[in-house]
Every structure is written in structure tokens, then in C-alpha cells.
Subunit: 237 residues, 2 copies
Amino acid sequence: MEVFYSRSFEGGFCTLDLEESGHCVRVLRHREGDEIFVIDGEGTLYTCVLTEASPKAAVARVVKEEPDWGAHPYWLQMAVCPTKNLDRYEWFAEKATELGLDEIVPVIGEHSERRVFKPERLRRILLSASKQSLKGAIPTVAEPLSVKEFIRASSPDDLRLICCCFEGEVPRLSINDVLAGGQARIVVLIGPEGDFSREEAALAIQAGFIPVHLGPSRLRTETAALTAVEAVYLHHI
Amino acid sequence: MEVFYSRSFEGGFCTLDLEESGHCVRVLRHREGDEIFVIDGEGTLYTCVLTEASPKAAVARVVKEEPDWGAHPYWLQMAVCPTKNLDRYEWFAEKATELGLDEIVPVIGEHSERRVFKPERLRRILLSASKQSLKGAIPTVAEPLSVKEFIRASSPDDLRLICCCFEGEVPRLSINDVLAGGQARIVVLIGPEGDFSREEAALAIQAGFIPVHLGPSRLRTETAALTAVEAVYLHHI
């Protein structure tokens, strides 16, 4: 199933942008009357019939709307420090999108080697991952901020977890045990290769974040982040 | 913690091969008397003292042995059809090693686009992933065989699961429900991008494989494979 993306829906018609129109008409050779599927990136799948097979601005008539298409039964925000090697971060983001998450927040920790992150490229990756994995909603990518700013801005209404490695120093629960509580809004904070600073961890715990562990294995940053997403996903299947 | 690998232990001494010796002596500049850590790839970590800092064949005296170093409390064999894009398969194998598994079997399905697979490169990747994630045992990579050959050779004593996508046609349990049984030896069979053939799925079920699903998301082959490893891993933390 091929899915297109558009933000432009008006009067029961949808227009594809230049890139999507070219893919639809030039590459896939769709013609007037063909049925195509379009997501709005906010959760709805539109079944449409192509009315103008323009390779620059294809237009289609909406015949059916499916809200919450490919939705998951939780809200998950992953605040993860970008890795030194960006491929690994983008890999995590693609896989997390396949499984199901709502927002990625690139947070910069005091021990982060990568201190600058441009979200644009990641947003394009999540768009194509969402289309590929048949999800109507595309996870958002927040503007980068510091770990401490993120902690201060977080809401006590959410189940907020921090995966830190200060073994022995900070008592930690297994992420499974915490998820067993069944909260629907979950925030997971994952530190950089060099872990959080003690100040960051203390601030998070003071703010109400629950220190959790992801089991005995020594996981890379991106593997730890994906394991947290898997734990939430598998908890709901 | 830097870990070296050697298969050559004799009379309380361990010898590193050319590559590991060069890394130990030339790159990391270890000298006689330095403490180094060596795994045998079969589960034991050896704490050693370098006695000959040769960049071609470094020798170290074993002072301590830790069996089952970084071991996991289950035995997991993943029989996964190699993906068209090998990077994705290698990525799965690296991540699965970080989490914990025992053997990867590259199986070729009737719908597999990739029909040839050379295990050597993957073995090197698993060696470095095992060192990086501090595991004494390196997962083995079997020689490729067909899905049907693998099914016929599998043992009824193991908990054998097949992840197939014939939704509605084959009644499937959630992998969590099946793992709740608590068996320690687990085999998971994952098909190619085009799924198993009906004959392969029927043969597996007839042989006693339990059809399982990995939840509602549409996952790529390598994501499905890693999700199965995560389910087993998370079930044991």
C-alpha cells in the first residue's frame, strides 16, 4: 500500500506538493480516476480519487476519512540526547516510528559530545518512516533544548522516566514494573554516551522523574532508547 | 573497559592474534605489566597481565577467570531471512547482540529476494558488538539454509515461535503471552520482506511452531526480528 502525504485539504479535495505529485504521477504513473491514499500527518488516512494527475500539483477528491489510522493506545515522548554518530540517532528514530511514538525531543546533556542538532533532516526521515509503516500521524521532532530545560518544562501529569546508569548510587526500578502502573502518557529521558551529569540526574529525580533500568545489558544510547520504546510498545500488545 | 578476544589459552597464558595484538600494543600502547581483559568468545572473561607486549603476538598471564560473563538467563536462537539491504540485517544482529542472543540462523525463504548470504562479515560484526557490550560469549552465525530445512532440523524441546503475517488466516498469540510460559530455550523464525509462503507456514505449524504476532504495527523484517529479541530480553529483566 502506497501512502502519500499532504497538508493541503480543502472543500473535499486534497492537493499534493511538488515532490509527492511527482512521485504519484511521474514515478508511479497514477492517472485521473485512480484511487490513492493520503495521510495528513496528524492521524487521518484519506482515501481519494485522483482528479488532476498533474506531476507538479496533483489533486484528488476525498471519498473516505479514517481518523486515528495506525494509532497506538498510548502517548510517548522520547527525550534522547543525540549521539555522536547521527546515523545511530536517525536509526533509532526510524525504528521508534515503526513501533509507535509521538514526539522525539533532542536534548543536549552536560556530557553530550554532540551539542548541535538540526531537526529538519530527522523530520523528513520520520515522514517516510510513517508512510512506510502505515501510520496517519507523523511523530513530531521538537527543537533541541538542554536536559535541564527539558526537565523544568516537563509535566508532573505524565509518567516521567529517566534511564540513568548510576548503578548502586540511585535505586532504580525495572521499566516493566513502572509501566505496569498503566499510565497512558509516558515520557522517557535518555542521556548521552557519557551519561547524565549528577546534577542533571538529581534535578530530574527531584522534579519527580522515576529512575529506571533497562536490564543488565550494556546498551548503546540508541539501543537503550529503542529498548524503552519497545518496552512501552510490547506492554500494550 | 576495553576487551580483547582470543581463542588461544594455554598453561595459564593467553596469546592475542595479529589484529588484537596490534590494537593492544600499537594502538592502545599497552606495556608489560599492564592489566588487560580478554574474552574467549564462549562466555569467560579472563583478567590478564601483559607479559610480552609484542604488536604481532602479545602474550598475557591469566590472573582471574569469570565464566558466564555478561550472560543472559535464556537461550535464544533467531532464524531470520536476510534482508535485501544487508545493512539492515547487520544492524539487527548488532543490536540483538547488545541485548543478548545465542545464535543467528540466516534462513532463505521461498519469497526471499536475497538467496545468498555469506556469514563471515556478520561474524566479525558480532565479535566487535560482543566486546563493545561486554559479553564473554559471542553469538554464533549458522551457515545459511532454507526455511523448510530449518523447520525440519528444529527441536521440539525448544519453544519455537513463527512470526507470520497471515492475519485472520492463522490464529496468532501475542509473543508476550507465549513467553509467559517461561521456557528457557527459545527459537524465533522471522520471514522475508514478502513473508513466508503458505507451505512454509503450514510446515512450521505442523512441526509445532507457535504462530505469534508482534502487535499491530507494520514492522520491517529487521524491526520485527529485533522486537522479538526485545520481547525475550524484557521478559527476563
